[in-house]
Point group: C2
Chain length 302, copies 2
């Protein structure tokens, strides 16, 4: 088990309040509010050479994506910022935070600022608060027979990371998908009342689908050919290998949900990609039949 999992097991013994949802979900529930807190650390979740405005954007986006998956409208954020003494970097980070909060329509309400010890990585935490009008979907509600859907496209951010790190050349749109993910707030809000389970895809479609199925005590079958990819991503290939690469890459911030009835139309692209089945685990198929699972189903930080 990883350090995080060991720790989580310990925390679950403490977090007995119903609002904690057993720490099995991405948010806490407090009346009609949902709250989420994610940390990002330099050298782990972002690169020292990343632009500070992009880091700020991502800090806000990853947390609002959790709200999107709960059908919550963002009402505010609190930012914990562990900085270095690089004044130019810090100023650019503030500008990026302003840009992100305006673009995503969420006010900055407070937080804390500290200077990290010399040589320590920049470390950020963000708490996002959202309001729901109905019980927020969890990741545990899927049942065999439910259909599995994706909102948005899969694989753009993974290619964007390869472009950012110089492994590939490619268009701005893919780079942007990696640096400037836009949480699917409006679609999440409109879909929330129609799903049996919903979560965001942050670490990779395959690993996140397996997590949803595991949490629901069921198995999941995905048709790799049905997985939605952008035209920009498909320009780099759409064969089985390319699709597996996309399905196991992280940072897309698409939404993944299950439903027992056809969902309503929303602004973002909604694609049926599979089915919840009895049993456990993940099965992959495409037009050529059963697809062996790749060694890594997604992005694990450890």
């Amino acid at each position: 088990m990883s350090v995080e999992n060991d720790f989580l097991v310990g925390l679950r013994r403490i977090a007995t309040d119903s609002g904690a949802r057993g720490l099995m979900d991405d948010v806490a529930v407090l009346g009609d509010l949902v709250l989420t807190h994610d940390m990002i650390v330099e050298g782990v979740h972002f690169l020292p050479e990343d632009r500070p405005a992009d880091v700020a954007w991502k800090l806000v986006a990853v947390n609002l994506s959790d709200l999107a998956a709960k059908g919550a409208a963002p009402v505010g954020i609190l930012a914990g910022t562990g900085l270095t003494r690089d004044a130019a970097w810090n100023a650019a980070f503030v500008d990026g935070l302003g840009e992100a909060t305006r673009a995503m329509g969420v006010p900055l309400l407070g937080g804390d600022t500290v200077v990290m010890p010399d040589g320590a990585p920049r470390t950020f935490g963000l708490t996002a608060i959202g309001r729901v009008t109905a019980a927020p979907p969890s990741r545990i509600g899927a049942a065999p027979g439910d259909v599995l859907y994706v909102v948005g496209v899969i694989g753009d951010a993974g290619l964007g990371l390869e472009i950012a790190t110089g492994k590939r050349q490619g268009p701005e749109a893919l780079l942007n998908a990696y640096h400037r993910p836009m949480p699917l707030l409006e679609s999440g809000r409109l879909l929330a009342g129609h799903v049996t389970a919903m979560m965001d895809v942050s670490d990779g479609l395959l690993i996140d689908a397996q997590r949803l199925a595991d949490a629901s005590g069921a198995g999941v079958l995905i048709d790799l050919d049905a997985m939605p990819m952008s035209a920009e991503a498909m320009a780099f290939g759409s064969d089985r290998a390319a699709r597996l690469r996309a399905a196991s890459a992280g940072d897309d911030y698409a939404l993944l949900f299950t439903a027992s009835l056809p969902p309503p139309q929303v602004a973002d692209r909604v694609t049926r990609i599979g089915q919840i089945v009895r049993g456990s685990g993940l099965q992959l198929v495409d037009a050529d039949g059963s697809v062996p699972l790749p060694e890594k189903l997604g992005w694990l930080h450890n």
Copy 2:
């Protein structure tokens, strides 16, 4: 200006929502909820040799102390934990977090766990959410003529730090005041409706009183002889030098408030220590007359 102040000036340009209170206060306000977020970093806010359970306790206590100063009842916390791979330390931290949440009566609702890069300091952030039944006091409401009060005692934690770092020998009670501060939640709640301004004393009585006066656009006069000290602290001296040392030491998590009418009795000791006056800045007096301000009014992390 410090790195933190520069950054805060930038953040204030973004934080235009009324709930942010211009980032001038210690909490954000969202309906009947108040929210606060504080970070603590190894080597800055706590020592690598501090016991993990004490670090966990302090993380919760410093945030709940901000809620106490707003008269809020704690309803939940979200913990962001940046750990190392030291499993024994992590397990002891979880135990301490459990102990703190039970002692302070606040449920753990969620959060995030990450592993810091090798060699990086442990870094924690905590968001505390509290509920108020009336408008929470701020630190900007004091007016000339208001009386200045302290809830609790001043100086115990400063002596406790000296004991913890081997500079002094002393009783457990003082060490405990440093390692296990108890936020004055009940007193804060009962007093909140009767104050013109209130904040907690985290960095030192003198610096925090000056901040309250500055924020209120007034001056403040403190009678050093009136400052409440514990019997344990007075055993180390209660002359002017000892009192100045106590008044400029941090980590007490007492409450500081102003009122225009005598406040109600509460369980914790409430002591009248001075007055809000016209003008600006801090003046100190004792039985021997005017007291020159010490060079450092309190604990600054930079």
